[in-house]
């Protein structure tokens, strides 16, 4: 039983990481309609940024975490500026920015590989690696840190979209760009901010996950696949969907791995199989847009 409760804590923490990557996809997807598969690279780069700041430059964690997030926000902003905006403003089709971002994915990946190589780097969590017990639940301090930080981020993003005029304006851009512009909403600014915000949230996913294993270039693909799966499972219309999808996915994965004997080489296949099965049952995702009730 305590084994199961410990599994629940670590699965929730994994779900939070997936949920954050899903949120990074969603922040870009909602106002622009662009599926940004480079979200996984952003998460991986966020972990590297934290490693450079905390591990190499020995900056205190309280500075390293916001610092790494800021670095990625700037990278996200620049990505939009150099690769997406010129295409949109010259009237390129809907698929062109997706292709451009796939190109950026390769550039990010190879550039990080050139600098850091394929090795694994250690990243310390802010609270070390103690075991923490909270009532019946037990897990590493990093797991609890991930859960708390993710909750804070999701509540903040939810409040922004639900409670502020700016948040409503982002939503308005997602619904009708032309009308939004004529109501005085700056489309360029909203698009740039969604890329910056998406990269910042992805960075959080990467740097929170780093201390649970290690920081490595090859982490980008699992981030991208699992984050995207969480997004589809939760439904692409609601912020809450991202975290819900992430947690469901992580529980399904961890429980399957723990209790169903699958050869370790096939473990990565759990996610896509789940995703396909899920889409057959619920093609629109778990949470639908509000108008559908």
């Amino acid at each position: 039983m305590s084994d199961l409760l410990e599994l629940l804590v670590s699965a929730t923490a994994s779900g939070c990481v997936y949920g954050l990557v899903a949120l990074a996809y969603l922040l870009v997807l909602r106002p622009t309609g662009v599926v940004n598969f480079a979200s996984g690279e952003w998460a991986m780069m966020g972990a590297f940024a934290a490693y450079v700041l905390a591990g190499m430059l020995e900056v205190p964690t309280v500075v390293a975490i916001p610092g790494a997030v800021l670095v990625l926000a700037v990278i996200g902003w620049a990505t939009e500026w150099f690769t997406v905006r010129p295409l949109v403003e010259r009237g390129a089709g809907h698929l062109a920015p997706i292709l451009a971002l796939l190109g950026m994915l390769v550039i990010y990946h190879q550039a990080t590989l050139l600098v850091f190589g394929g090795e694994n780097y250690p990243l310390d969590g802010p609270f070390g690696f103690n075991r923490v017990e909270l009532g019946p639940f037990a897990g590493t301090s990093q797991s609890f840190f991930i859960i708390v930080m993710t909750a804070v981020i999701f509540v903040a993003v939810w409040l922004f979209f639900e409670r502020t005029v700016w948040g409503k304006s982002f939503e308005a851009v997602a619904i009708n760009r032309r009308a939004a512009a004529l109501m005085g909403i700056n489309l360029r600014l909203v698009t740039a901010l969604s890329f910056a915000g998406g990269a910042a949230v992805a960075a959080m996913a990467g740097l929170l996950d780093g201390p649970r294993g290690s920081v490595e270039v090859n982490a980008a693909l699992p981030f991208a696949v699992q984050g995207f799966s969480a997004l589809i499972i939760g439904g692409i219309n609601r912020v809450e969907g991202a975290i819900l999808g992430g947690i469901i996915l992580a529980f399904a994965e961890d429980l399957t791995r723990r209790y169903v004997p699958i050869p370790s080489g096939l473990a990565l296949g759990v996610t896509p199989v789940l995703l396909i099965a899920f889409l057959l049952v619920r093609p629109t995702g778990l949470l639908r847009a509000k108008e559908a009730g």
């Binding site: 005029v165 308005a172 109501m183 005085g184």
Partner: protein
């Protein structure tokens, strides 16, 4: 009711699409609190004029001054931020949002708090959000949608949607509102209600520019009417002078059998 200084001065406004000149050297001005009608047969260039003024289309030539400052060629969101808001001929609500939320989006240009402060949730930023909510409620009452305040916009009737667009445009604290055929698709009683609302807007000192086909709606409402034909202004005057202007009667004869006929 109408001030002395023009709010907006349009000079030589021209829009060409390839070889077609949709708007050809249009001159007009609007004063604060004035209701100006823009009429003309189909294809006369009325909608193009709106689209150029609101920044959707780039003008080919001309000038548009707001308080003496040139604003022609600014992108749409900047034009809106200067206080030029519009409604759409085919309602364009933000579907999936409530009536109140739609109106709040219209207030986007009035938000003064920086995004950083909003994200941090400072007291000033929260107070501003509260003020915008309160103003949105006030405008919803003004157009008579209080009952539908929290309703999702797709549940509104067409006429209610038009009222929502009016409230949303007002939320941006406009100095001028462009109405694109506001009476189209409304029942007679809805038309009456909208007429009262438009008068109320003008009484607040906001200029109103109105494209309209329905002369029974427009002529009693407008202080002044300009008539376009083939992109050029062929008349400019009070509703009474327009009704009898021979050039106007000519332009309309082929289409609707004269001004004042049901369009």
């Amino acid at each position: 009711m109408t001030g002395e200084q023009p709010l907006i001065e349009v000079r030589g406004l021209t829009k060409r699409f390839g070889g077609l000149t949709a708007v050809d050297g249009l001159d007009f001005e609007i004063r604060p609190g004035e209701v100006l009608g823009l009429i003309g047969p189909n294809g006369a260039g009325k909608s193009t004029t709106f689209n150029v003024i609101s920044g959707t289309y780039q003008a080919s030539a001309g000038s548009m001054r707001l308080d003496g400052e040139e604003i022609l060629g600014l992108p749409p969101h900047r034009i809106a931020a200067r206080g030029i808001m519009r409604t759409f001929q085919h309602n364009m609500p933000f579907e999936g949002m409530s009536v109140a939320e739609n109106v709040m989006v219209g207030a986007q240009t009035t938000v003064r708090s920086t995004l950083g402060r909003i994200l941090l949730g400072t007291a000033a930023a929260r107070a501003e959000e509260q003020a915008i909510r309160a103003r949105a409620d006030e405008l919803i009452d003004f157009v008579g949608l209080s009952e539908e305040r929290d309703a999702e916009v797709t549940s509104l009737s067409f006429g209610q949607g038009r009222l929502l667009e009016t409230a949303r445009a007002l939320a941006g604290e406009p100095r001028i509102i462009l109405f694109d055929e506001p009476a189209a698709g409304l029942t007679p009683s809805e038309c009456d209600r909208l007429g009262v609302i438009i008068r109320g807007i003008a009484e607040r000192g906001i200029a109103v520019l109105l494209i309209e086909h329905d002369m029974r709606f427009l002529l009693p409402l407008a202080d002044r009417v300009i008539v376009l034909n083939f992109g050029q202004k062929i008349a400019d005057g009070t509703p009474d002078t327009i009704r009898t202007d021979p050039a106007v009667v000519d332009a309309y004869l082929g289409e609707a059998g004269g001004v004042g006929a049901d369009a």
